[in-house]
Each structure stands twice: as structure tokens, then as C-alpha cells.
Symmetry: C2
């Protein structure tokens, strides 16, 4: 927002014309540093198909993504974007009271201070600005913030252990490695 | 920022007192939707140790994170937070001109529209509001936005393929699975 300080003469002019000004009260709350994130696209679920529609202005960023089998989709839990939900710090994982109370940073809960969600998805095809996916656990119309190619050497560590409350389908290690191929670089 | 519409009478009062108002010009640029993300902590690299210092107000969110071996750290490429760098959509991966030009969404480049970075880290220990890590590819003092526990069943897909330009250490699949343990839930 463009803020300007104007001088009494300008104010007087406005007063003479009977204008209504919109102005900042200055605010008493301490300033907290923040960063801005902008939707680069949107999750679409239509006619049994799931895709991400990338905004025209970001389309050039997709060059070469079709060479990867999987993409990390960073999206925004937009339905939970309220101060109250962003202040929740502990939950029973998966909303199950039988699970122990845990910090949101120890869960994948959709309520957390910054509503960043991450889903690693299989790419079916890319057509223009549409990335067709096998599935994503986000609603239709969800804002997408970033895409990164999935790289096992960065994203899949070894010697993993997890607490008992994590359900089996989340602890399964699905990527038993095929023999390594490709150049040594 | 707290914005209020005030009426001519109030303006007149201000004028009479010769006050200087700060007001919004309204701006001509079209409004683009954005979301705010707030640092929950900071990367620290001190005396050969690497840790994340979580802000006091978010400390309760760590409960139970110590039960996981690995954490996904979402951080902000704060050194690149300029309109120019956020407008870059294509790069030569890893800054190597021998690599083909690729869209930023097909790379892990630190320049991208939303400067969200993701590093999966091994947790060494958690002491109070400090999470000691084996390593992280972020500078000292980098803002941290979110933490999520690494769960292979969500984060490590199978049947992965990658383009030739991805270097070997990024294509290695490190987590050859140990036998599955834990309850079926």
C-alpha cells in the first residue's frame, strides 16, 4: 500500500471539498516481520481429473518439469487462514483423541502458524499451463505457492524412525531403490 | 495496518489543529492476492554446531518432534527477496551453463517467485527451543517458516525418474527400507 504524508494545505483542500479520506491510524501493535507469498496457480479437480493450473505469468517456470516423475507441491491451507487457527500449537494428530497431544511442528496438521502444505505428487502429464497429477490432498481451488522437483537424494533420507502414533501408510517406505543410473556428476 | 474511514467533521477537526495525516493514496497497481508468512525461528550456525532457534511464542509446537529422526525445514531464501530475483522464471540449474535452461519449478533454485526453501534434516537433539541438526544448506540467521516431521509414506514416492542433468548425489535413493515395524493403523 502506498502511504504518503500530506501537509495541512492538502488536508485543508480536501476539507474544503468535503472529501472523505481513508487513512492509516498508525496502529499500536508491535510490528512483526513477515514475508509475502503469492499464489502461482490453483488446484483444480474437474471431471475426475486433478491438475494444477499455473497462472499465465508463471508458465515459463515449468520448462523441463515434465522430465521428472514427481513434484513437490507447496500449497496454502487457505480454509484455515484465521488468526485463531494460526495460533494453534498443539493437536491430537489426525484429529484422533486416541493419539497423544503433539506440537503442530511434530505433525502434518492443517492448522499451524504458517499454513504451508506440502504434497509430493506423481506427474501424469503437463499440457500448457496444466500439470495433471495422480492425486493431491487439497480441495478444488486451493492456492498453490511453489513447485519443486522431487529428488530422492535431497528428500528421502535413510535410517528413518518415527513414533508409534504415525499410521502405517505414512511410515511405509515406498521407494525401494532401482539400480542407480545416470552419470556421476 | 489498521485502516479507518473518517468523516469530513473529523478531517475538519484535524485541519483546525493543523495536524499532519498519514493516508493511503489508494494506489493504481492492481491488487494481487498474497498471504503472510512469519518467521517461527532462525537458523543458527555457531561453534561448529547447527541448530534452529524457535521463538519463545512457538515453542509449544515442538512437543514430540524429538520422536522423529528427520524434520523437513521450510525456510526463506531471504537474501534473494527482491522483486527482480522473485521474477526470475528460468535458470541453468546449479548455476552451471552446461546444464540446460530450465524453469525454476523444475529446479531447486534459490530464486523463484515464492522464496520457500525445503531441506530435510537429521535431528541430533532437541534442547528447549533449540533443534540441533546434522546440517542445513542455509546461512546463519536465515528465517525458518515451518517444520514438519519427515514421513516416508508421504514424502518418498516410488518409481522415481529424473532428468540427466540432476547430479548423482541428488538422485541417490538413500532410504533403502528396513523391515517395516509398528502397528497397522
Amino acid at each position: 500500500m502506498n502511504i504518503k504524508t500530506i501537509f495541512p494545505a492538502v488536508i485543508l483542500g480536501g476539507c474544503a471539498l468535503g472529501l472523505i479520506f481513508t487513512f492509516s491510524t498508525g496502529g499500536a501493535a508491535p510490528k512483526e516481520i513477515f514475508f509475502k507469498v503469492y499464489p502461482i496457480g490453483t488446484v483444480r479437480k474437474k471431471s475426475g481429473k486433478t491438475f494444477i493450473e499455473i497462472k499465465e505469468k508463471y508458465k515459463d517456470g515449468l520448462l523441463g518439469l515434465d522430465e521428472f516423475s514427481h513434484v513437490q507441491v507447496f500449497w496454502w491451507f487457505d480454509r484455515n487462514d484465521t488468526p485463531k487457527k494460526r495460533s494453534i500449537l498443539q493437536v491430537h494428530p489426525r484429529g484422533n483423541p486416541a493419539n497423544p497431544l503433539r506440537g503442530v511442528f511434530a505433525t502434518r496438521a492443517p492448522v499451524r502458524p504458517n499454513l504451508i502444505a506440502l504434497t509430493t505428487c506423481k506427474i501424469l502429464s503437463i499440457e500448457g499451463s496444466r500439470i495433471y497429477l495422480d492425486n493431491i490432498d487439497a480441495f478444488d481451488n486451493t492456492p498453490v505457492l511453489d513447485l519443486k522437483p522431487y529428488m530422492p537424494g535431497l528428500d528421502a533420507p535413510s535410517n528413518v524412525h518415527l513414533p508409534q502414533w504415525v499410521p502405517r501408510h505414512r511410515r511405509d517406505i515406498r521407494n525401494c531403490p532401482p539400480p542407480l543410473t545416470g552419470p556421476k556428476r
